[in-house]
């Protein structure tokens, strides 16, 4: 937060606003990565799932994790949440080493993270309202505020009409969107998407990507987006959200002069990271496995 004097100083020297370095100096915690994996190993029985994985997700960055089914992508997400522990290596969230944290120590860390599960994973004995309100109820927040927040979240995912329905009455796409609303309550700064568009029709999948883009560009959320659909990579890597004068959100494609730098792609294969970089470099990478993955043949 800036004091009035600092704001006045900045305004009188407009050229300083161009430099990101100034922001970095004012907010030194932006330098600390949101998520960091250092040489993480994990094996189940005799099968190695992750074989020395290292990567970083910076503040405000979206990391797209690509890879074949069963390749360890969901495992990475479960490790971040502390639902699994690695056999070796370290995991840091906001600079805090969570590798050896027990359930009790993980609770405050999980408050900072929102998780969107593959099938939504809604609590089927609770209504949409109760599902989205879940985290706030557990924190004993008062009822009026809960209702306000739940409505705000359901508006964000365009599902306010479904507020009293039960999960069983919703379509797959709607369940997924309620799962997103539930994950975003409490405004977590880190959001994990585990194949959020699997099994959805293209327009609904696009809607979910737009939500992820809005979070990245309008709310400075750091996120991991696990997927194996190249359409999602296309949307996330080449479009950004803009807000017009009336407060409506639109999506524009990066063009000749503007290139998105806050979205990177990692490809996992047989437990190792075989590629890390921008989506343009991914498409032009000569590795035959990567080409087959992108084009399907």
């Amino acid at each position: 937060m800036h004091s009035a004097e600092e704001l006045a100083d900045t305004l009188s020297e407009p050229d300083l606003e161009q430099f990101d370095l100034e922001d970095a100096v004012d907010e030194p915690d932006r330098i600390v990565p949101a998520i960091e994996f250092r040489d993480v190993y994990l094996a189940f029985d005799d099968k190695t799932i992750l074989d020395g994985i290292s990567f970083t997700v910076r503040r405000g960055e979206t990391k797209v994790i690509l890879g074949p089914s069963g390749g360890g992508k969901s495992t990475i997400i479960r490790l971040i949440l502390g639902l699994l522990k690695p056999d070796a290596g370290e995991i840091l969230i906001d600079g805090e080493n969570i590798t050896d944290h027990d359930e009790h120590a993980m609770m405050p860390v999980r408050q900072k993270i929102g998780m969107v599960f593959q099938e939504g994973a809604l609590f089927d004995s609770l209504s949409v309202y109760e599902n989205v309100a879940y985290r706030l109820r557990e924190q004993r927040v008062d009822e009026e505020e809960i209702e306000r927040e739940v409505r705000r979240m359901l508006q964000f995912v365009a599902l306010e009409d479904a507020i009293e329905k039960m999960p069983i009455e919703l379509s797959g796409g709607m369940r997924r969107r309620v799962g997103i609303a539930r994950a975003l309550i409490g405004d977590p700064q880190i959001v994990l998407f585990d194949e959020p568009t699997a099994g959805l029709d293209p327009p609904t999948a696009r809607t979910i990507c737009e939500l992820a883009i809005k979070l990245r560009d309008l709310q400075d959320v750091s996120s991991i987006f696990v997927t194996h659909e190249m359409n999602n990579v296309e949307y996330l890597s080449s479009e950004y959200a803009v807000v017009d004068e009336e407060g409506r959100v639109g999506f524009e494609k990066e063009g000749e002069t503007l290139c998105l730098i806050n979205t990177e792609v990692i490809m996992l294969r047989e437990g190792k990271i075989t590629y890390s970089g921008s989506d343009e470099q991914l498409r032009s990478n000569p590795d035959p496995y990567i080409q087959r993955f992108i084009h399907g043949k």
């Binding site: 949440l81 639902l83 359930e103 408050q111 994973a121 609590f123 879940y134």
Partner: protein, 256 residues
């Protein structure tokens, strides 16, 4: 993995789960509303089958033992023999077996279904401890309700026995009731409450553990349920023997 190792690991897992339940009572968050709801489902919900079981068990006991007692000329002691058998053994064990089938299966199926649909992971990700929210209310409800259900079964068992003695064997009801009163000691009653307390822990611990450790989709849920009911039932019977022996030694019960 050899069977002994597997058994020891399972025993460790259930013990740790029950220990977590015990320690969860002493620190918030506690889910008292959920506990009460489970007590209603487990206690009030199981009452009809438990009362039926008790009634017909008492009835069949008299049906079988009256002729033999009559042969030895001690049929006036029918009330005592029925009451003692019910209160010490049949009430606790049969009630526990009924509840193991009804509630043990429900718990392991419900928790297992939540595991395979990632609802347990979602719960942990949202900052709630599934042991506090799901397991503790169920285990505590079982520990509280099973003794109460057992007492209800015992009462209806004595009534059933009395009905058979009175309407089938034409025994004077006062004779039956006096014999019942003379036969029961307070140690019998204490022993009859201690057993259900342990049975509640066994059923709750095993069913919750099996539910939470479900793997393999819907087939896995079915398997967990089978295992939960079978293991709970067997361990109730095994515990019954050792508890009976312990109660005999400590309370001096059963040595006439």
């Amino acid at each position: 993995m050899n069977p002994l190792t597997k058994f020891l690991l399972e025993l460790q897992a259930v013990s740790l789960l029950l220990w977590s339940v015990l320690t969860s009572i002493f620190r918030p968050p506690r889910y008292a509303a959920e506990m009460v709801r489970q007590m209603d489902l487990i206690g009030v919900g199981s009452l009809p089958i438990v009362l039926l079981t008790g009634f017909f068990t008492g009835g069949v006991l008299v049906l079988q033992t009256f002729p033999t007692l009559q042969y030895y000329g001690i049929h006036t002691e029918t009330g005592r023999s029925v009451a003692v058998s019910l209160i010490r053994e049949l009430g606790p064990v049969l009630t526990a077996l009924m509840v193991s089938g009804r509630i043990g299966s429900a718990i392991s199926a419900e928790l297992g279904a939540m595991v395979v649909s990632q609802q347990i992971d979602a719960m942990r990700a949202l900052g709630t401890d599934p042991v506090r929210k799901l397991v503790a209310p169920r285990v505590i409800a079982l520990i509280v309700m099973l003794p109460l259900l057992t007492v209800a079964a015992d009462i209806f068992g004595i009534i059933g026995g009395g009905a058979v003695a009175s309407y089938i064997f034409d025994q004077d009801q006062n004779v039956f009731i006096t014999s019942v009163r003379n036969g029961i000691t307070s140690n019998d009653l204490i022993g009859g409450i201690i057993k259900p307390f342990f049975f509640g822990m066994v059923i709750g611990g095993i069913s919750c553990h099996k539910g939470l450790s479900t793997t393999g989709g819907t087939v896995g849920v079915g398997l967990s349920t089978i295992n939960a009911v079978v293991l709970s039932s067997i361990w109730v019977i095994i515990f019954d023997f050792f508890l009976a022996k312990a109660i005999q030694s400590i309370l001096g019960v059963g040595i006439i």
